[in-house]
Symmetry: C2
Amino acid sequence: MSQLPTVLDVGRVAGVSRQTVSNVLNSPQIVKPETREKVEAAIAQLGYRPHASARRLRTRKSSTLGIRLDPMTNGISGSLLDRFLHALTEQADRRGLRVMLFTATGPEDEIRQFARLRDGADVDGFVLTATFVNDPRTEWLIENNVPFVTFGRPWGIDDMNDPRHLWVDVDGRSGVRDATDHLLDGGASHVAFLGWPTKFSTGDDRRRGWRDAMEARSGLDPTQLDALQADSEDDVAAASQAIRALIDSGVRVDAVACASDSLALGALLVVGAEVPVVGYDNTPVAGAIGLSSVEQPLDEVAVGALDLLLGDGSHGIVGWESSSPEQRHRLVTPRLVVRERSPIGRLA
Amino acid sequence: MSQLPTVLDVGRVAGVSRQTVSNVLNSPQIVKPETREKVEAAIAQLGYRPHASARRLRTRKSSTLGIRLDPMTNGISGSLLDRFLHALTEQADRRGLRVMLFTATGPEDEIRQFARLRDGADVDGFVLTATFVNDPRTEWLIENNVPFVTFGRPWGIDDMNDPRHLWVDVDGRSGVRDATDHLLDGGASHVAFLGWPTKFSTGDDRRRGWRDAMEARSGLDPTQLDALQADSEDDVAAASQAIRALIDSGVRVDAVACASDSLALGALLVVGAEVPVVGYDNTPVAGAIGLSSVEQPLDEVAVGALDLLLGDGSHGIVGWESSSPEQRHRLVTPRLVVRERSPIGRLA
DNA sequence: CCGGTCAATTGGATCGATCAAATTGTAGAC
DNA sequence: GTCTACAATTTGATCGATCCAATTGACCGG
């Protein structure tokens, strides 16, 4: 096993200087086509590949994104992160970027990791996945001028339009509206909503989608709609309990739209086959048991995240300053996946 | 925002040369304690962090592991990879290593990625997750002397003991044996096994575990045992079909041990509440529906993988050559998670 | 008091690439 | 024919760390 070839070796073979080789790789347009071909031939012949670390040292760019692997995603929707990671890695690869993982025990620890990875020039920027109100992480990143993009809107009122905070999100409101419409189309009029108790956040956004559809088409008044809602933690057993309580209270329930597949599964176990249920996230479980569900287009999210982070694409990961003012966030539309009535339902 | 401090700056503040600073970081034992303290104080004062790329350029080590994010893991067990990734990243971090992701469209493409990442000095070694018989990837890695470890035994007869192939695996046989024993303990005698049709591989290993337990305790003869087996692809509907066919054939089935949670869910939907079922992988679904399942200790797998890859730990990622002959593979024992009878069962 | 040994520290060279400035070549204007 | 402008390419310096050989200083035996 001999030494790996360097720009110098390639230059020697092609009969040009090392810098010209470098130019062929980084600014092909300034090299004469004829020369470029010679160099490219030499690169192919030698199997040359640029040494990433050397390049990073000089350019002070790592072409690498950091993303935290969240331990808390181990719910039924855990595989979402999996799919997002895959989409992100694939899209990043297409743009010549790499994805590096890290873990952290909490927000403060995560900030320490940001500093460590940034100072070590390991990564140029970050992708955050689970943001919350007044997130100290985004504040730190903004203050320290570290490029980042979040998957998920900043739910604080001020933050939402902060130009320094790039974000991509899925329009859950629209997704649940579609789901509810689908249930109304199926002949139901009393479509219940099973959501999470949190405020100002994802859960409320999805609830609004249900409300939109119901107000427009169900013919029920606000009081009746209020009575058709149930809240529960994102847990199957808790969901079952919540939906049972709703039904026991005497409210008529023709169908159920849910804020997650976990909740949907919990509902399904209670309401049985006659009552259609729609979930959210389209997790493998939904596919397995034949549950209709709203699918988040994670590929589009990944594409959006990288588009925002790369700005015009010519200078690598630069963050918000390079993006045009209109292109600092992106809302992608989810898609309802309709399935046959679930086998679980049939069993009941 | 000023320049980040370098070894030179630290040395200046501590009143020593840059090399001494480097020594404090890399070979503390050769530095006089008194000096070391001064340097450490300077490091803390300046908030110095070594520049990873510069170090890598000089040492020709990246301290980074590559792992492929497999698109095919999007089954019901998809979250397994998630959990493994998390465990691996955490353990790697503890040893000063980073984890970088990549994707590939197939084995040949993956080999191209190996070459690219290795030549670019992006990673020092790889962790492979889904190995198969006569895997061209492990052959390439061995030939090219790239350190790697696989999660999963090489199932080819010769490969299994190849000293150049480091591997960690979970003892599925033992796991399913425990699961079967548990079912036998519960009073069942005719415990069926629902597995995959593949040969020489994970599925067969698990099947053997069932057979071990049944031969020892069920009192059934080999012919009866053969009749208690069903095979199916790893899919809920297919599993339901397979188990139904088994029951329809007139065989008595007291309980079912399965090679995966997907299969278990499929079985559960058919056999209902009276018949206990045990799955494998302890996926979130199992937790959600109250299914007993065999849990793979992914933390231990991650620890094992890194132990093997790092050898004695003093020279970074070195691969098989540095490992002691006895420490070239590791088999970790899974643990049965027993749960209350599932709500799905109750519904039936 | 000298030479030898060893621990502790230092300065020069280097890893492989890119940046910035200098150089060469080529064409067009006057 | 000279001079300017610009395109194409080359050379010198540099990024921040570590390797390696050289140096300093303390201690000991003779």
